[in-house]
Amino acid sequence: MDFLSFIFLISALWMLQTRNVTKSVYLLILQSLSLSILMIGIPMISLGYDFNLFHSAIAAILTFCVKVVFLPFIILRVNKKLRSNDLVPMNMSQGLSLLIGIFLIGFSQVLNSSGFFSTSHLSSGYSFFAISSILIGCFYMLSHRALLCQIIGIIVMENGIFLYSVSLTNGMPLIFEFGTFFDLLVGVLVMGIMTNYIHGLFESTDTENLTELKG
């Protein structure tokens, strides 16, 4: 499980210095794949005999279907339709972006050990990876100036939140997980449609163009 958590974190971190949408999506697939295995693995280890295979398996399958298959497929398809093979514009250099990412991981460790995000009752080492992913996802949205990168950033954040939920509670209620996955799926679909419209009007997916409305 430690190895998978490590992959989960490194794939998010590596995204920060990638300027190619396709590469970022492959890294996202890797992160989501490790998350789907962790969604079974973490409860299995922490609960032992109380482990509810049905619940965890459903959550893991949902994660796999939505985050490893559907969402990356939608993003790649939109990216292909836009024919944007150019490098994604960034607000800072790739090196600085990576450096800030490493700083955010350190900050997550401080937050996690301070107990702000969890209590001693059910906290596990995995929440550190989750908090790091949430912060890196947020930062990825800020550092990369393409619309598709903002969608990827949101999914990275959501991955972090899902790992956080499984590390603290061994999985949220099923009805709630169905709802969140459905919302995420429809949300990304809508964002994909909007990216298409925006590209059609602005002839670019640079978020720098979206600064007309002020005050």
Binding site: T119, I134, I154, Y164, S165, F182, Y197, F202, L213, G215
Partner: protein, 488 residues
């Protein structure tokens, strides 16, 4: 069953909306669906108000006295918006702002949007409330960017991104509540059920609950347009079609406030009301204070009203945060009055703005001469929203002022009244510029009274009734206030 129908009707009718070839039939099918939903909502509210009982449906849906004002607001505002939207959509088609082929998607999205808003106030499970509120974002984003212009798409993109990120923080808060539930109850059944959680409130870990409320406040606060997470609000309200702006400002913000209130009551049962009340008061005061400079310097009329919504959300949060009888009474009445007034204001503004072809206040000269009937409705609701008597908002603002004087004394009360007076003065200044100025020479337009004018004057009558005849002694109002106060 009645609650299930409220949610099922829009889903079923949205399929029927796609079938007819004529756009008029689609419009009437959608309007009929919303009329039916509103009727069922009124019946269920009447049942809860008269019997005082909670109406349950299989532990998923419930309507109690707290949800009654929110359900009523959705019912009334959606009814006004759906009927008024017929005229707006037809005018948009006439001036080539909207293609005829867009009418069906518009009404399907409108029905689904109203459905998700009903869901968010009818679900009793905190997780499902989150799912419903996130669903409102996804659907309404498409409606915000419906005109597919540069500005509207920019507004829609900012809206969906900011609200999705914001509400993700509320999800972290929910995970912490679920963890607190697991630690203290270990029941594993009916998890995140609000009624169960509140009955076991004292057993919940106080630290976890406090941290969770911070996340909830940031998450749902983004959706409620509370400062400093309000940045999406002026863009989205300013760029969406008028009936959608009316729904966003009149109803959607309340749905997020509703979620915050449920969590406020839950935290109050776990650790006492001090922590969450202070947060509500703090965010409310910030929203009031920081919206004023934007109101004073605004040039765009729809953005002006959007910032006014930020201010009014601040007033509502302060009322609920005060927690005393007049504070809660004022907040509930203010929420109701603001929703009805603001939605009518957006609808009448939409009609005027379409005629002038600009949102710029400086260009909207002589509206009284150009659109005499619509501008009288506009004048009345603008006065109401500014907090002028005899409209309901004056009374609710004064109730909250009285509650502030009662709880915090002289100085905070005076600051609150000064802020309200400043906003009132600003609105009167803008009104003078638009209403009491000469008509542009190229405008020779006069309007005839129509059905939409009669429809838009109903909210004004409601606002006068709430301003003149609603007193705290009326049984149903005191029932709702006391129900809320029992939870604090």
């Amino acid at each position: 069953m009645i609650l299930l129908f409220i949610v099922l009707i829009p889903i079923i009718f949205s399929f029927f909306c796609v079938l007819p070839k004529q756009t008029k039939i689609t419009q009437w099918i959608a309007s009929c669906a919303i009329v039916l939903m509103s009727l069922l909502a009124f019946i269920s509210c009447f049942y809860v108000l008269t019997s005082g009982k909670i109406l349950f449906l299989s532990n998923i849906f419930a309507i109690d006295l707290l949800s009654v004002p929110f359900v009523l607001v959705i019912a009334i505002v959606s009814l006004i918006c759906s009927i008024s939207s017929i005229g707006y959509v037809n005018r948009d088609i006439e001036i080539n702002e909207m293609k005829k082929s867009y009418v069906k998607p518009f009404y399907v999205l409108l029905l689904l949007f109203v459905c998700t808003m009903y869901l968010s106030v009818l679900c009793q499970n905190l997780g499902l409330i989150w799912v419903s509120i996130e669903a409102t974002t996804v659907i309404s984003a498409l409606l915000v960017g419906f005109y597919r212009k540069r500005a509207s798409l920019e507004a829609a993109w900012k809206y969906i991104i900011l609200c999705t990120v914001g509400i993700a923080f509320a999800l972290v808060g929910l995970i912490l509540i679920y963890q607190a539930e697991q630690i203290s109850l270990f029941n594993g059944v009916e998890t995140l059920n609000w009624f169960k959680l509140i009955s076991y409130g004292k057993n919940l870990d106080p630290n976890l609950m406090k941290i969770s409320f911070i996340f909830i406040m940031v998450g749902y606060g983004t959706k409620a347009g509370i400062f400093p997470m309000h940045t999406w609000l002026p863009d989205a309200h300013g760029q969406s079609p008028a009936p959608i702006s009316a729904l966003l400002s009149g109803v959607l913000l309340n749905c997020a406030v509703y979620a915050i209130l449920r969590h406020h009551l839950l935290l109050s049962s776990a650790v006492g009301s001090g922590f969450s009340s202070n947060l509500l008061l703090g965010f409310g005061a910030l929203s009031m204070i920081f919206s004023v400079p934007f109101i004073l310097t605004q040039r765009d009329i729809k953005r002006l009203f959007a910032y006014s919504s930020v201010e009014h959300m601040g007033i509502i949060l302060i009322g609920f945060g005060l927690g005393n009888f007049f504070g809660v009474l004022g907040a509930i009445l203010h929420m109701f009055n603001h929703s009805i007034g603001k939605s009518t204001l957006f609808l009448s503004t939409g009609s005027i703005v379409k005629r002038y072809g600009s949102n710029n206040i400086a260009r909207l000269k002589g509206i009284g001469q150009t659109k005499p009937i619509t501008s009288i409705i506009f004048l009345c609701v603008l006065l109401a929203i500014a907090g002028s008597p005899p409209f309901g908002l004056f009374l609710s603002e004064m109730y909250i002022a009285y509650a502030i004087f009662q709880k915090f004394g002289f100085f905070p009360g005076i600051v609150y009244l000064t802020l309200i007076a400043t906003v009132f003065a600003a609105f009167m200044y803008y009104l003078g510029k638009m209403y009491f100025s000469n008509q542009r020479p190229d405008f020779k337009f006069k309007e005839r009274i129509g059905l939409q004018h009669i429809f838009l004057s109903i909210p004004i009558i409601i606002l006068i009734i709430t301003g003149c005849f609603l007193t705290p002694s009326i049984n149903i109002i005191s029932k709702i206030v006391e129900y809320f106060m029992r939870g604090i």
